[in-house]
Subunit: 252 residues, 2 copies
């Protein structure tokens, strides 16, 4: 059986983009894009919805975030893991407590994650992925029978391991459905790294650069939480310029 | 022992850049850069020197290559694995026979590899790396006690597996010297992928996208050759705008 014939049987392709810097090479407007910034933006966004936030306005620059603050919005903003002076809080998932944010609209800007969301806005759907909602994301993608493009936030346009491992975990889940295939080297590498790491994920994560950055700033208390599977069925999705909950049974 | 203290003991860092698109994030003028395009540019360049070529002029565009042809140069030029009409031959290592090129100067332009060479030209040294000369490259880098930056040509600004595996193999060799360290996630991933692949390298390579591309164009006869270790002690190096042999004991 030829490769060509095999691929025709599996109509939806999976690709992984390791950093926003090369996203133009991957653009595929018909695809569902899953944004990943495990430590910590996409884990925090999922947590905010778990705590009942109404919607989130992702903004790219600190200037925009500050302008929203001046208009009276609740603002989460950090750079390099450090909360900005004008902001109400930074991007630790632990900041997004029900008392603070339930039923509210918040503005959110981070070093790497929020830019990715806006970068992918012209695609069919832009979803926020984390271990916290991974099984739900995989199920949704399979239900939609569309190409999947996983965009890793990375670190300042460089590859990072923690987002890559998540990309591998999600790809592996979706590839179990026979309508999906990949011939993308970065997807293959992600799946292999995931299989190497998964039996002792926290030990593996121990060596990644971002862990050292968080530790230096005493922000590494969230690492275990950010690698916990399936705490929620909520999938945050970009609608116009806002992140909202994707309606089940997925009609928005 | 703190991480900071540990790193001070190992003064030379190793980084891997997966595609030329993100090279600006890695620039480090004091570093030795090793260019990698295993299938097939850097394997072919090593082979050309093994066959006694005097020097190679790497050019980025086909227009430049054709201009050299019109001036009477021997020209190797391809795009997407296909030899261009005006060229004398393409970038299969098998083209670079002693009969054709011994003692000559040739011009060389490929889809991904030659652009990388020029991109890194402002660094301390730019070396051409392949499995064919990997042990010699590792020995040279260790002898120089400088930072090592491995630049993978990738495929049209995307990550590829075959260059990454080589980056992992070379990093692992150099990291055995205690004066070298890495905290770079892409280096760590490369080393892990290399260790996964190395016991059956050709079987692992069987899944990579570039193999399918070469097979489609009936150019996959070189894959085994391009994954052969240590056929030569020659290290091609960029000197001004030319690739020449690095003089042993390394004084050029």
């Amino acid at each position: 059986m030829s490769l060509q014939f095999e691929l025709m049987q599996h109509k939806n392709k999976i690709e992984v983009c390791f950093t926003p810097a090369v996203f133009p090479e991957f653009e595929n407007p018909e695809a569902i894009v899953v944004i990943v910034d495990i430590l910590r933006a996409t884990s925090a966004i999922c947590t905010a919805f778990m705590s009942g936030v109404e919607r989130i306005i992702p903004v790219g620059t600190l200037e925009e975030a500050e302008a929203y603050k001046n208009k009276g919005y609740l603002v989460a903003a950090e750079r390099d893991g450090i909360v900005r002076d004008f902001a109400d809080f930074g991007n630790s998932p632990y900041n997004f407590t029900r008392e603070r944010i339930e039923g509210k609209e918040i503005v959110y800007s981070t070093t790497n994650g929020t830019n990715c969301i806006m970068l992918a806005r012209n695609h069919h759907k832009v979803l926020i992925g984390a271990y916290l909602n991974i099984t739900e994301i995989a199920g949704y993608v399979i239900s939609q029978q569309r190409d999947l493009l996983i965009l890793c936030a990375g670190w300042k346009n460089k590859f990072n391991l923690e987002d890559t491992l998540f990309a591998g975990a999600l790809s592996e889940m979706v590839l179990k459905n026979e309508a999906f295939y990949t011939i993308c080297d970065s997807t293959l590498a992600s799946v292999d790294l995931w299989n190497l790491a998964k039996t002792n994920l926290l030990k593996y994560i121990d060596k990644v650069a971002q862990r050292h950055r968080l530790k230096k700033n005493k922000l590494d208390d969230v690492i275990e939480y950010c690698h916990t599977f399936d705490l929620t069925k909520i999938i945050p999705v970009l609608k116009d310029n806002y992140l909202v909950r994707l309606n089940y049974p997925y009609n928005n």
